[in-house]
Symmetry: C2
DNA sequence: CGTGTGCCATCAGGTAAAATTATCATAGGT
DNA sequence: ACCTATGATAATTTTACCTGATGGCACACG
């Protein structure tokens, strides 16, 4: 009789997310009839209707919505149980799905990945590079295990740990003659065209916040997809940009670029790890944090070398 | 690969409880090979050994023990989910597994059950009468839904609600001539043989506590299994006993029995309901509590009528 | 006013999973 | 040395579940 299975709850959770039998079935990698059957089976076991079938999508019943919440909790706990089991054998062994924001990945991963491979050869790393919003969504959905991004992250299910402070520097064309000025100010930015990443990048928002600009009015609407492109544009004389210090080593190499720090208080972002509060893999995250800190030191050292004051 | 099922966790939970494949299989109502297979499957999915197989029972590995704890939590949540679904349609509908202690059942159930049937005709009641320890065990294991017993209950997973105060009265043979005394005292008890229920009954412990008797030395070691038997013995002149007031109506009828109250402060026990903290059936328990209170009033009224001072 | 489209249910068939019964292997206890 | 208890294994049957094809229905659109 009351013979509920995890599979049924998984299908129902997908259905609640997608609001659509077909898409939910896709998300579960089964055919639509298979999912329909399991949902019906679940409704029969529970003795209540969970969803109202209508054309043009579906709607959860009130009880269905409550069940969906409980189902999601249950599935999270199940995932944690499996995580615990599969990774309790040793630190950073087995698979780790690692999400990194685009303004960090190209600069911290090059030193980090070799260290990871050397220190934890049993680790099977799956990398994902995208914007913060997508990363956090996928983290809470259980599609990623840990993130490397700019803090803070405000989600109630997410726990974070700061690792390194990454100052923002002002990047401008070398050609610009600044008459010996060594410290940038906010006012300096307003005097020139500010180039930023496209919408959705946290770096863009942080830069705008620092410049006290709510809207994009005074800023180019170009929206580049990578910092490399921005830097290319800056060195071509198309404008200036805020460049995180970790990028300097890579981006200022062999380019017509001048990078100067800001006057105090210097703007910066805090980079750190983020994971689901419920994750049992704290040991893994500690170990990873240590290596990220190490990689950060290396990267910042290179940045200093690239800007010999 | 990681294709863990609720069934596997249920089997593993049973195995962790029973420490024995055969008994665990019995508890799950399957054959031993079926359970063995599922445990192996679970171990394969999780990638770790959960139990050490030895002759003469088994032993959980350290990780197995942790998994067992998590599995139990998961199964509890699953049970709550199903409970919520199956009983969200209406108050006190569907099945309710109701445990009652032996010193209460014969006195409160006769008025309670007809009221329940009348007020909640859709309720399918399963009754269990046994001692407190068994009731609470079965409650936390999910084999019962709600208990009616003497408070307090100290288990961390159990929530309680007091319903009625049940005074203890002194019962003695009618023949005993008490020269007009109307109030009993502790000293009176020590002057005669105190008859009690067998070990395990909370009523026995409460009586002993009231009499400040730690051990059974001064008390009969007979240990009756029902209050009726005790009362029978009292009226036969074999001793005296502490009789809860709710019993008086039934037990003193057509017997050679004298029942007198104690001097202040009168000893008493608190009867109430108990349920798992996590249970989603609070509405059911409220409704049940109301009817139990009603039944208590009726029963105590009858007790008064039976002892016309 | 039909016709097409999107959405979910149903059906039939095959395959994989899991249960049962029966049997085996081994370590202890006597 | 034998018996017993315990869990693993094997063979078979039963059950569960998925796929692919089909059906019905409401709505949008020509």
């Amino acid at each position: 009789m009351a013979h509920v299975t995890l599979k049924q709850l998984k299908y129902f959770d997908a259905l609640a997310r997608e609001q659509h039998f077909g898409r939910a079935a896709d998300a579960c990698a089964v055919t639509q009839p298979a999912l329909s059957m399991q949902i019906q089976e679940l409704e029969a076991s529970l003795g209540i209707a969970l969803v109202e079938r209508t054309r043009s999508g579906i709607k959860l019943t009130p009880k269905g919505a409550e069940i969906a919440v409980r189902a999601q909790r249950l599935l999270n706990d199940a995932r944690d149980l499996i995580d615990f089991a599969q990774h309790s054998t040793g630190v950073l062994s087995g698979s780790l799905r690692f999400g990194v924001i685009p303004s960090v990945a190209p600069y911290l991963l090059p030193p980090l990945l070799p260290m990871l491979r050397a220190t934890y050869p049993d680790l099977v790393l799956h990398l994902r590079e995208t914007q913060t919003q997508h990363l956090t969504d996928e983290l809470v959905e259980g599609k990623l295990d840990v993130l490397l991004l700019a803090l803070p992250v405000k989600h109630p299910d997410i726990e974070t740990r700061p690792i390194l402070e990454d100052r923002f520097l002002l990047a401008m064309p070398q050609s610009k003659n600044l008459s010996g000025r060594v410290r940038a100010t906010k006012e300096l930015i307003e005097s020139d065209r500010l180039l930023l990443l496209e919408e959705g990048h946290c770096l863009r928002d942080q830069a705008l916040t620092f410049c006290s600009l709510q809207q994009v009015d005074t800023v180019n609407t170009f929206g580049a997809t990578s910092l490399s492109t921005i830097v290319e544009m800056v060195s071509a004389g198309l404008g200036i940009t805020l460049l995180p210090e970790i990028c300097v080593g890579v981006e200022s190499r062999s380019r017509d670029l001048k990078v100067i720090p800001f006057a105090e208080p210097q703007p910066s972002r805090t980079l750190g790890l983020a994971w689901r509060k419920s994750s049992p893999r704290q040991a893994d995250f500690n170990a990873l944090a240590a290596l990220v800190a190490e990689a950060g030191k290396i990267t910042l050292k290179r940045a200093e070398d690239a800007t010999p004051a």
